[in-house]
Symmetry: C2
Subunit: 334 residues, 2 copies
Amino acid sequence: MTIKDIARLSGCGVTTVSRVLNNREDVSEETRRKVMEVVEEHSFMPNSNAKHLKQHASGSIAIIVKGTKNLLFADLLEEVQSLLLEVGQEAAVYYLDEDENEVAYAGRLCRERQPRGFIFLGGDLEQFKAEFAAISVPSVLLTNGAEGLGFENLSSFTTDDERAAERVIDLLADLGHYHIGVLGGNLSDTQISYRRLTGCKKACERRQIPFDMEEQYELCRYSMPDAYEAAKRLLLRRPELTAVFALSDVMALGAIRAFCDMGKRVPEDISVVGYDGIIAGEYSMPRLTTIKQDTKQLAEQGVDTLLRQFVRRGYSVHRFVPFELVSGESVARV
Amino acid sequence: MTIKDIARLSGCGVTTVSRVLNNREDVSEETRRKVMEVVEEHSFMPNSNAKHLKQHASGSIAIIVKGTKNLLFADLLEEVQSLLLEVGQEAAVYYLDEDENEVAYAGRLCRERQPRGFIFLGGDLEQFKAEFAAISVPSVLLTNGAEGLGFENLSSFTTDDERAAERVIDLLADLGHYHIGVLGGNLSDTQISYRRLTGCKKACERRQIPFDMEEQYELCRYSMPDAYEAAKRLLLRRPELTAVFALSDVMALGAIRAFCDMGKRVPEDISVVGYDGIIAGEYSMPRLTTIKQDTKQLAEQGVDTLLRQFVRRGYSVHRFVPFELVSGESVARV
DNA sequence: CTGAAAGCGCTTACAG
DNA sequence: CTGAAAGCGCTTACAG
């Protein structure tokens, strides 16, 4: 069944059928009704391959998730998907390992699949700087800021990571913590861990808390098993730590389990702060003290902006979305 | 850049270019090299819309995830995706609420997007019975069994839910538990909760443990917040319970948090058993005692079978995948 | 081993 | 308001 059949059955030309199917104005009500009747009767759906071949685009938005085990993205993805569904915009999700090059991947997708636009969940600015020029469709980056890059088809929304991290250190300092460890990801200055760590350092300096990168920062991936091992290494190396700031909730959860297996109690013996505000952290034991990123606003503004970019090319915005320091049960006064 | 350009630049016909691009045998080595050179130089990618318009299929596999907050599917999805990536098979993921009709959705996708095949992560047999006939591409259902339905293009792999649930009740009975509550999903006989509950009932009968559906079963969705509320209702109604079997780990995690907030200790005051074996349950406090579904095998056999179905139509298999009762820290002797 | 030509199912100037 | 026709970028008989 093709629009040709529909045309034949409804007694008009294919052009008209196409117009009806695409909700064009310039069709008489009567003709429209006639066509729709036949369409419904056969529950006809236009072939999207043919459609998009002509339109030079696939009609669907590609969502690129960087980091398969990062539950923040799971929460965020859900919000993004439901917003897209509301407006009837199709979306396909592509998962990448956190170390893969998301922009190169998007570039390939562009040539092969021609999506209408991209939503990046997480991203390394390095990659954007180097390869985003090859991408010409509207795009939005969530949880990292791309303002400085100056691409007119790329918007970004993120938490003010530096400020948020400062707040965490301040909280810990206020509670008397002096030996603080940090668990986080890649520190290249194009990654979020770098911005968060910068906040930590500033606050430490301001509060006169010593922070020795080599000794007090432990690198790990965004997954519980990896954070588990990293947290153990960190505490074994620095047994005097009274608090650990994990730059992601998933890491914090792995760390808590690690400390517990080492015979420590959280927060009595060691405090743990997370970052993200994922659902799992609201139901963990102890409940996570963390920086809650506003996934709702991230998703809303991201989707909204992308849709706006579809109609207004060259429009792009970069904004911080508010965060909140949520106090759970994983932090204690020292 | 189209294959026409490649043809011109490499001095041969488009037919030949197409043959090279699709790794056909019948091309001379020299011609192939010449063409590939031009292709690489321009990093040319064939337009998939045009390609699939001809081939009457989209080339990509549609993965339909039923239940956005069910972390089991997150774990499973990751395995499925990485296997698909290994063989270079493109896949698009579509998320549905756990109450939506996944087969109707797949039907629409078929007409619109023409995927090569489907992988369903979770599914209600009811839906399959009613609407799967409309789907003619190879499909695989994971975590539910579709053997009885007799569709020749549908395979299924699942855990022996009934047996596994029996094992859980036996474990609890062995430890002296007599008042056992169950937290689970929709009980229509086409859903997994039904099969798991059937196992519970059988074991309870065998072990002479009373089980009053009205009083001891609490319905909830596959999400921590929902399980949290449901667990509270259950325990308030039946304070004498010494153990709760949550038919999903996500539910178990929500329940543990609920009991704790009610002033109970897990497992000292009340034991909790989960089902699934998700990663988050391995790092929770207490570590979850649960039925570990073999996501690795589920993914491997699922993907393998789907690929096999592509070349051999009418081939379908239905199998149980082994499970394991993993003992964590969430269960105690009464 | 190679290529000219038809056709996949749409959309969109263009002409009426 | 409507329709015949060209064309999107591929694949695939078919003929050589």
